[in-house]
């Protein structure tokens, strides 16, 4: 005799099981049922995503091919790389010129050269970015959560006063801002798990300190006033309810964060000059610095982006070669320094760092060789002007991803692309579902983590089918 058949429970239960979805006045997550639990063995506690927004050409960065210097009248189809290759610390692995420092830390991480982006027809960056960050192709009939929100929901904060999901460096007032908002969201998980936005790292502190112009004493007094008024308030007669409790709790949390010593992590002015200067290659570099400082204080998921703005940064529709010189300067120092700093402080072991982009670029092929899509860049066959010299079309069939720390193999190269055009993936293709599951695996989040929303399970990867690439782990 084990569990008795409790008839009353049975009568109650069978009909109750049909109620599960959103309802007015009820916190959404209370309807979400899941069987999620953290696995005993995880290899990372923190994730830093270094996001190369706009499409980073693999042949001009981490997967260089034959170099053809610029000359007037050159054939476009001859150009595979617009930079010469330089050696890295790994034997037989070269990077594109300008990424020397990152090349020197590759003994701490893995280089994936075979990422294959999704097929979504006529290319729109924000759609591929949506796909990369949520693992779902837009549009979706329910609002899909960002990977950072999934992680925040499953694991919560490392340090309770530091928001679990922090997004550094992206403004939403630029072109395609609405499309970016569509995936910078916790979706059906509820806004509690949404990103804490720091559009500009140099003013990051403002997000986590008392309002501008308010002294610490006044802030303290104001909080005291609030508590006094609540305790004296006539609303006490209404008694307690969950809405009121959640209001009070959230206010308490905000107060704790704003006065906590850890908030100083957001203050880049506290960083020693020498170190600050290494990181200070612009917003992205300072974002890396903030990510490092937050990781040291206990952060869960941080995304640092080279801000996406149509036709800017990595979104090279022209002058690809010239502009990449600057882009590499922005990332090379800060990224390598971040790895070294975290290693030095002992955080690298439990911090998974990923550098990725929504897709790659090529001079000739838009989309992928066997599935070309509508071209958006007019590329002359004969190049006379240096502005046409660069990877300007959107290429989805071979992209590079870097991973460091968090249990990832050291000094390892995964996958391969062809050495001649089309420079597509020819070994070990890996797709976004696998990348996400690999991250979840490192964090100890079960492969079939899911929530029932509108009565159906919504998994971290579509249908829960994604598999972690265990080969990437030590």
């Amino acid at each position: 005799m084990n569990t008795p058949w409790n008839r009353r429970e049975f009568l109650k239960g069978t009909s109750a099981a049909t109620i599960a979805a959103l309802a007015a006045g009820v916190p959404i997550t209370s309807f979400l049922t899941s069987c999620n639990r953290r696995k005993a063995n995880s290899s990372a506690d923190t994730v830093i995503l270094l996001w190369m927004a706009g499409g980073m050409a693999h042949t001009d960065t981490f997967d260089p091919k034959r170099y053809t210097p610029f000359s007037k009248g050159m054939k476009a189809n001859d150009v595979l790389s617009t930079f010469k290759s330089i050696p890295t610390i790994l034997d037989g692995v070269s990077f594109s010129d300008g990424l020397q420092s990152i090349g020197n830390v590759m003994d701490r991480g893995t280089l994936i050269r075979s990422y294959v982006a999704g097929d979504m027809g006529h290319i729109l960056h924000s759609r591929h970015q949506y796909h990369w960050h949520t693992c779902y192709k837009p549009p979706q009939s329910v609002s899909a959560p960002h990977i950072g929100s999934w992680i925040a929901k499953e694991l919560g904060s490392v340090n309770p006063v530091i928001p679990a999901f922090i997004n550094i460096g992206q403004r939403f007032t630029l072109g395609e801002g609405e499309e970016l908002k569509a995936f910078h969201t916790a979706g059906f998980l509820g806004s509690e798990y949404g990103p804490f936005l720091i559009p500009d790292p140099s003013s990051g502190l403002e997000s986590v300190k008392p309002p501008v112009g308010m002294s610490a004493t006044r802030f303290e007094k104001r909080n005291q006033l609030y508590n006094d008024l609540i305790s004296k308030s006539a609303a006490g007669e209404f008694g307690s309810d969950y809405q009121k409790e959640s209001l009070r709790r959230s206010m308490e949390q905000a107060y704790m964060l704003l006065k906590s010593p850890e908030a100083a992590a957001f203050d880049l002015n506290k960083e020693p000059r020498q170190s600050y200067d290494i990181y200070n290659t612009g917003k992205f570099g300072l974002g890396c610095l903030m990510a490092r400082r937050l990781t040291e204080q206990g952060a869960r998921f941080i995304s640092v982006t080279t801000e996406y703005e149509p036709f800017k940064s990595w979104d090279t529709h022209d002058n690809g070669h010239t502009r990449l010189i600057d882009m590499k300067k922005q990332i090379d120092g800060p990224v390598s320094q971040l790895i070294k700093d975290l290693e030095r402080t002992g955080h690298l072991d439990r911090t998974l760092i990923i550098l990725a982009s929504e897709f790659s670029r090529d001079m000739m092929v838009e989309g992928r060789p066997d599935l070309k899509v509508k071209e958006q860049v007019n590329q002359p066959d004969i190049i006379d002007d240096i502005k046409n010299y660069g990877m300007h079309r959107h290429f989805t069939d071979g992209c590079s991803i870097l991973m460091f720390g968090g249990g990832i193999k050291k000094g390892y190269v995964y996958g391969k692309t062809a050495d001649e055009r089309p420079c597509k993936t020819i070994e070990k293709p890996i797709v976004i579902d696998q990348i996400h599951q690999t991250i979840y695996h490192a964090l100890g989040i079960e492969e079939d983590a899911n929530y029932v929303v509108e009565k159906r399970p919504f998994y971290t990867t579509p249908d829960g089918l994604g598999k972690a690439e265990l080969e990437l782990f030590t």
């Binding site: 109650k12 239960g13 395609e176 609405e178 006539a234 899509v373 829960g464």
Partner: protein, 833 residues
């Protein structure tokens, strides 16, 4: 003490009673050991305690029988205490009390083992009380017999009768625990939950004896329950879409044929059934089913166990299609309960009936201040101004509440600006968002605003959205992203999903990719409905893979009419519109009525509001309102008037500590559920109390420019008209990429941060503080004003003292600002009570 003859006859009676009880006892043992069980639980408590605990239900029958019988026999001795029955009674009382003590002890053990909640404590205390009473009566009886204290006879008898009563009551509650609280009452023809014996309702209590045979109807009912479990949990991999392990669980012959390894069900023997073995394995086991997602609940496992033990009945004949509950489509006009006393509003007449049934009494209605704040926020989305509060308080007309509701409904622009938020969410209309960048989306704000303002009849409203003109086409045209999208998200399918969700409270999202696992809607139904919005017949895609199949355009319910498959899109949409708004389509009106009710009352009659197949807490109230709404020109303002002037609306608000209770199966309506202000209500309230949060440049729609514009108050940009921004997003305004029909009600850290140090809010209150300092100068005035404006009341002495201590005699901008901040963050300000 009586003669020998009497003693003998007393003994005879006692022996007979003991024999009867012994038979009863054996019977109980038989039942409790033969009962079905499941194999999936672990031993958490020591087995012997659990065993004794389980003995409680049969041990408890001793005190029931013995004490009751003692009391009955006692009745025969009323005339003569020293009757021949006396020794038997004495014995019964002694045995009854002892077994009562044992049963209390066993009951404690059982309560630790089982999952009992509410009724348990009543049962427990009654049991303990009864035992004590029994002890007292036994004690008194002993005193009478041994010391001949005949003066105690009366007390003894009274206490004995009470303990007999206690035993009966405790027994009743105990039965409720085990069988459900309608176990007894459902057999009484005059009660509401009376279930005729032959009813198809699956009444498990009737199967308590495992050897009993199920009726054919019961078998059918059990079978449907089992198939619902299969459908929810197994069809995904073992159904028409996928046939893993060569096993299909959606058709009778395939279920019994089994999978690649042979039969999975051995009728009559769950233990030997592979299916049962798999669902009861630990989650880590590789054979465990379902292999993905949630394990089956214990209840589901129990049902399947019972079904297999019963021989896995599966009645022949066509497989019954409706495994899932589907609400009735036609309208229904239940007979309104008679008006009684001051219960004249139809809503109240239904509520009154509901309250009587649930034994709830009517509490006092809310005071003027609370009521005024409610109707202002609910009807026009603004706080009442101090002048309006005074005017309302002074208004002595007996029907002033109704008059003020009418007045608010007549503030057309204020009303429209408030309800625009609700409809923008539902119709996922926004000023910015995905799609606009590549001209793949159309704004319907102008049409929507004017429709709300003019109180367009709902029938017309739906018609113009479904069969749109230029200004209202955004809803069915959907959002078109550049590039290729999943077949289940093409704009025609979006239209099918959104029309069915918003207007019919129906989830077609699953069925638009594959046959639904959560309802009976099929892929074919979804495509048939989507074809109404398509230029040419869509090829059916299953999980984004073309199938080469096509289906004609048709309604989801054939009863609602036909669609000419050959016609153009605009003709098909027009036919759809006409079919949709037919009075026969009760679902359209119920869905709308339920949505408006949820907006005003904090919780729908049905929750979630998008699943109209769920049970309402009062079917009659919902049906009556929906029917009469349709009859009454589908006038939304009149519906709001009906509800907000009812006493039901004026009940004190209900606060729940555990939000899960709000949607639990045993939810009982007691009054409006407390609501948190929406982002827009909060912004507008803060705006009217202190100053505008949004610069005019953020306003994306300007009704001010329209002829006939009247905005009574206040003169600032209402939040519903501005472009979405971080402040509104943080406070819960959705991004409107998908239909959204309810807002989050819990606060979180990101919101609190936005309000605590966000630039927008803090600079607004700073500017306000500067103005107030100049305008009011004195601390006392400032405190008085802010309490009146923000909370609609005077500051209480203690509150005044705290505020005064902060402001001092010469208020500074900083301290005024801090007072504003603290008051606006009070739960009292942010929650609608």
């Amino acid at each position: 003490m009586g003669n020998t003859k009497n003693i003998i006859s007393g003994k005879k009676i006692t022996i007979v009673i003991i024999i009867i009880l012994a038979i009863w006892f054996l019977r109980m043992i038989y039942i409790s050991f033969d009962g079905p069980s499941t194999a999936s639980s672990v031993f958490e408590t020591f087995w012997l305690w659990r065993f004794f605990g389980r003995l409680h239900p049969l041990v408890v029958h001793f005190p029931v029988g013995l004490l009751l019988f003692a009391a009955i026999l006692e009745l025969f001795t009323l005339k003569k205490f020293d009757s021949p029955l006396r020794p038997g009674i004495n014995l019964l009382v002694a045995a009854g009390v002892i077994s009562a003590i044992i049963s209390v002890a066993f009951g404690f053990l059982l309560s630790r083992d089982g999952n009992y909640e509410d009724d348990l404590s009543i049962h427990q205390w009654l049991g303990i009380g009864t035992t004590c009473l029994g002890l007292v009566s036994w004690f008194l009886l002993n005193r009478i017999l041994r010391k001949n204290r005949l003066s105690l006879v009366k007390s003894y008898r009274i206490i004995l009768f009470f303990s007999a009563l206690g035993v009966s009551l405790a027994g009743h509650f105990g039965a409720s625990l085990a069988h459900g609280n309608d176990y007894l009452s459902s057999t009484l023809p005059w009660t509401d939950d009376y279930t005729p014996a032959g009813s198809v309702n699956f009444e498990l209590a009737s199967f308590k004896n495992d050897t009993s045979k199920l009726t054919i109807k019961q078998e059918a009912e059990l079978n449907v329950q089992v198939r619902a479990i299969f459908a929810h949990n197994c069809y995904k991999c073992h159904g028409a879409e996928k046939v893993k392990g060569e096993l299909r669980l959606d058709r009778k012959n395939m279920v019994f044929k089994g999978g690649e390894n042979g039969p999975v069900i051995v009728p009559g023997n769950a233990r030997e059934s592979e299916l049962f073995r798999r669902i009861t394995l630990p989650s880590s086991h590789k054979d465990r089913m379902p292999s993905k997602g949630k394990m089956l609940s214990e209840n589901d496992i129990a049902v399947i166990n019972f079904w297999i033990q019963k021989g896995a009945p599966w009645p022949d004949g066509p497989d019954k299609e409706n495994v899932f509950k589907v609400a009735a489509l036609p309208p229904r006009n239940p007979k309104l309960p008679p008006a009684s006393g001051n219960m004249t509003n139809p809503v109240d007449r239904w509520t009154n009936q509901y309250f009587i049934k649930n034994k709830t009494s009517w509490p006092n209605l809310v005071d003027d201040g609370t009521y005024l704040r409610r109707i202002f926020l609910d009807i026009i989305g603004l706080l009442p101004s101090p002048q309006e509060i005074d005017a309302f308080t002074k208004d002595s007309r007996p029907d002033k509440r109704s008059l003020w509701v009418r007045q608010l409904l007549n503030r057309e622009d204020d009303y429209a600006m408030h309800w625009l938020t609700f409809w923008n969410d539902a119709l996922r209309n926004d000023y910015t968002g995905t799609g606009y960048i590549t001209k793949g989306r159309y704004d319907i704000t102008d049409w929507l605003y004017k429709s709300i303002k003019s109180n367009k009849p709902y029938q017309q409203f739906v018609k113009e959205l479904v069969s749109p003109a230029e200004g209202s086409k955004g809803f069915v045209e959907g959002i078109k992203w550049r590039g290729v999208v999943n077949a289940s998200q093409r704009t025609e399918m979006q239209a099918a999903q959104n029309v069915s969700q918003v207007f019919l409270g129906l989830n077609l999202k699953c069925a638009s990719c594959h046959n639904s696992f959560i309802s009976d809607w099929k892929l074919d139904d979804a495509y048939a409905f989507a074809n109404i919005f398509a230029d040419s017949t869509l090829e059916i895609n299953r999980c984004d893979k073309p199938t080469g199949k096509f289906t004609d355009a048709r309604m989801l319910w054939k009863e609602l009419g036909t669609i000419d498959n050959k016609a153009t899109v605009s003709v098909k949409r027009a036919q759809l519109a006409e079919n949709m708004i037919k009075p026969e389509n009760g679902r359209l009106y119920r869905t709308l009525v339920n949505r408006i009710w949820a907006q005003l009352m904090g919780r729908g009659l049905i929750e979630p509001v998008d699943i109209m197949d769920n049970e309402p807490w009062s079917q009659d109230l919902l049906d009556w309102m929906a029917f009469n709404f349709q009859q009454n020109k589908s006038d939304i303002k009149e519906l709001i008037y009906l509800i907000t002037t009812s006493k039901t609306y004026q009940l004190p608000s209900a606060g729940f500590k555990d939000p899960n209770k709000i949607v639990s199966q045993d939810y009982k309506f007691t009054g409006m559920l407390r609501k948190r202000m929406t982002a827009e209500q909060f912004a507008d309230a803060a705006g009217s109390v202190i100053g505008p949060l949004f610069h005019d440049s953020l306003v994306k729609y300007k009704p001010v420019m329209q002829p006939g514009y009247v905005q009574s108050s206040p003169l600032f940009a209402r939040a519903s008209l501005v472009v979405n921004n971080t402040f509104l997003t943080a406070l819960g305004r959705p991004n409107r990429e998908t239909v959204s029909t309810s807002r989050e009600s819990q606060a979180n850290l990101l919101q609190a941060l936005e309000l605590t140090n966000g630039e927008r809010f803090n600079s607004m209150i700073k500017k306000g503080a500067e103005d107030w300092k100049k305008r009011y100068k004195h601390s006392d005035v400032i405190i008085k004003e802010i309490y009146k404006r923000a909370l609609g009341r005077e500051a209480q002495p203690k509150e005044f003292e705290v505020a005064k201590k902060l402001l001092g005699n010469k208020p500074e901008t900083d301290s005024i600002q801090d007072l504003f901040w603290a008051i606006m963050l009070l739960p009292e300000f942010q929650i609608i009570y």
